[in-house]
């Protein structure tokens, strides 16, 4: 019986300074198959479509249910999460490449630590007094929870940064995800004590002003974070902060 097969083309690169090559794989189709399960299949049988032995593909993954943010890569040209990319929804050959805006480690693995550094720069935390028992937190009405919860769903996958025309070395732009987190923490009854610091951190070069409102980010975000909304709110707040600081000086 002829089994249905799936064709993959994967961009391989053994190390940051090695040349890149494309390898083609022919795999048996299975119901519910996604791009990560295809990688697992290749690991168990690392042979290309023309019978050449190769190595298992290096890539990041962990949760396999689109919540840890590990497995971002370009699939058929789109920044996507490999674990939720179902083969049945993709045109073949399925072309898989690493994200392009981040330093390459190997194959599909890139170094995205810049996002975590940005989150540190904007103090993306609530400064609690300590972990001892101080009783309940501030009251938060459901309406406010409903506004904040979506922002808090960001999985740090960096898809929004990958697709942003402004996110590059020249601008040093922090990217949409960080801006959305600034909005989240500035909204929090305790988190807002750092509001001014955060806005100033987004005021200069690489800050919110770099955004050209191309809206690619919001289209690419797998978690539907209201990014353009956050960017316009924060732009306004940054502007107000600038004026305040100017009046004070």
């Amino acid at each position: 019986m002829a089994t249905k097969t799936v064709t993959f083309e994967i961009k391989r690169q053994a190390s940051p300074d090695a040349p890149d090559v494309w390898e083609r794989f022919e795999l048996d189709w299975r119901p519910g198959m996604n791009v990560v399960s295809a990688m697992m299949e290749i690991a168990a049988n690392p042979v290309t479509a023309d019978g050449k032995p190769t190595t298992p593909v290096t890539y990041d993954s962990n949760c396999l249910e689109e919540i840890c943010g590990s497995c971002a890569m370009r699939i058929n040209g789109r920044a996507s999460m490999a674990c939720s990319a179902l083969v049945d929804n993709l045109d073949q050959p399925i072309r898989v490449e690493p994200l392009t805006k981040f330093p390459l480690v190997r194959d599909l693995q890139v170094d995205r630590s810049v996002l975590f550094e940005n989150l540190m720069r904007v103090k993306a935390w609530v400064p609690v007094d300590g972990t001892y028992d101080l009783g309940s937190g501030p009251r938060v009405y459901p309406q406010q929870q409903e506004a904040n919860y979506p922002l808090s769903n960001c999985i740090s996958c960096t898809c929004c940064m990958e697709v942003c025309p402004q996110f590059n070395v020249t601008t040093g732009f922090v990217g949409a995800a960080t801006i959305a987190q600034v909005k989240l923490f500035n909204n929090h009854p305790t988190g807002k004590v750092f509001k001014e610091d955060r806005l100033r951190a987004l005021a200069g070069d690489g800050g919110v002003q770099e955004c050209g409102y191309a809206q690619n980010c919001v289209k690419a975000c797998p978690k539907q974070i209201p990014l353009t909304n956050a960017i316009s709110d924060i732009s306004r707040d940054v502007m107000v902060q600038k004026v305040k600081d100017w009046l004070k000086s």
Binding site: A43, D60, E65, E66, C68, S84, T131, R139
Partner: protein
Amino acid sequence: MAAPKIIVVGGGLAGLAAVIKIAEAGGTVDLFSIVPVKRSHSVCAQGGINAAKNLKGEGDTTAQHFDDTIYGGDFLANQTPVKGMCEAAPGIVDLLDRMGVPFNRTPEGLLDFRRFGGTLYHRTAFAGATTGQQLLYALDEQVRRYEAEGKVHKFEGWEFLSAVIDSRGIARGIVALDLRSMQLRSFAADAIILATGGIGAIFGKSTNSVVCTGSAQSAVFQQGVYYANGEFIQVHPTCIPGEDKLRLMSESARGEGGRVWVPRAPGDKRAVKAIPESERFYFLEEWYPKYGNLVPRDVATRAIHKVVYELGLGLDGQPMVYLDLTHIDRETLHHKLGGILEIYEKFVGVDPCVEPMKIFPGMHYTMGGLWVDFNQMTNIPGIFAAGECEYQYHGANRLGANSLVSCIFGGFHAGPNAIEYAKSVAAVEGDGGAATEVARQAEINGKLLKNEGGENPFKLWRELGKAMTEHATVIRHNNSLKQTDEKIVELLERYQRINLSDKSQWANTSFAFTRQLKNMLELSRTVVLGAMLRDESRGAHFKPEFPERDDERFLKTTKASFTGSLEGPRFEFEDVDVQYIKPRPRRYDAAK
């Protein structure tokens, strides 16, 4: 003296909780994690976190939470630490709230609570259906704050390989592998805390994340730490079977009113909607009228097995049953369960608000783990453990939403206790054995790279997972357990002939995986042989040959110690602390 230096391995809830306490107390921490900590498995937790805050006027108390937990765990958990956890839980939820976790709210702006399995109270605080993500982020943010202050140094992308243990048997640090440069290095510390999560990967496919291999636990087990209650693993009743993993459909779906059923007629071909109420078999509600769909997981899982395998009522003859939410309005579902409904829709392509979900039980949680004392320290001085990797809080079966609280509580304890310990430990002599340990690890690596033979590590792993899932999960028979152990021994032998297709020394993930595989094989024997020894049924451990609980012989903690790869683990039993609640029969068909 200088501030104690502590190493924390693992950046899930337990590890991060420990880090925060240590940094707050003035210690410095090196934090190791295979994945960036924000991507740890804790991010997957969906349903919520338990705390008896009694905000619904039901008269809930921490004593009631304690009783539910002990009873749900079939009396196998030591009672002192569980009591401490239940009493601390309300304070922990308050703290998380202060840290900014966007918990769901009541109209008055207070925390909302929902019901979970194994209790009759609304005791579970939740943030939509992505509670673990929200909790992990809150702790991650606090740790980032300490990182900015220079109190925490992260080693993300480093894998713990083993502890450095000196000639007196005291832990002095760790050996870790940089997963990019593949460089081996030792790191000194006054104490180490392992918070490395569960062992799902031993069962091939589970609800766990990819890095939940139990490799770190196994490594220290092989260095002399006891592994306790290994035979107790939880199979969650409601998972979505998948090619690469079993995706969880959280108990919160039933907490919010979801109903489990099958058509009464075997192989009923009608469309779901065409099957009238009277021809639907809501077996959990019929068999367990008091708890209904919210019986504990072991009970629900066995019921589904019975319906499918004994009564032959699986949907379309397949091992699947319905989990039905379609009677609840879309708005409520979206508000309270959005995250998990999205998972179902994304991975199955069907809208669960319109059509009942098709689910089946899957390996989910590790109740057993590293043996620790009431201070979270293992039997090797200086090695502490917290979170899913240790055995303390859940006995023979974990109640839903109790894990997140046990992870944070355990981490909050392990941190300060490690500092206390570090202050009084005798000074290290020389390098404490670091060079020797690095050399031992280098030798293992060298051998793996030189191996000749025809075995593929990923294929061996699949064979392990298949055997474990078939024979060491829901229903256990002594003869098949014995065969499974023989199978593992065979795999250990074939492991010697693994030929890596990738022998490079840069970001070589299959090399790292193959190292983990060895540890998985060693650890899986404690699960299988522990189950074989325990001739009774208790909580999640069920043997048809011995269907009753036998307190006389087995109200005991199983402790496995490593004697050598060929010899297999050696077992002993330890008495359980039952000083507060006298063991009584556990049944869910009536009020307890």
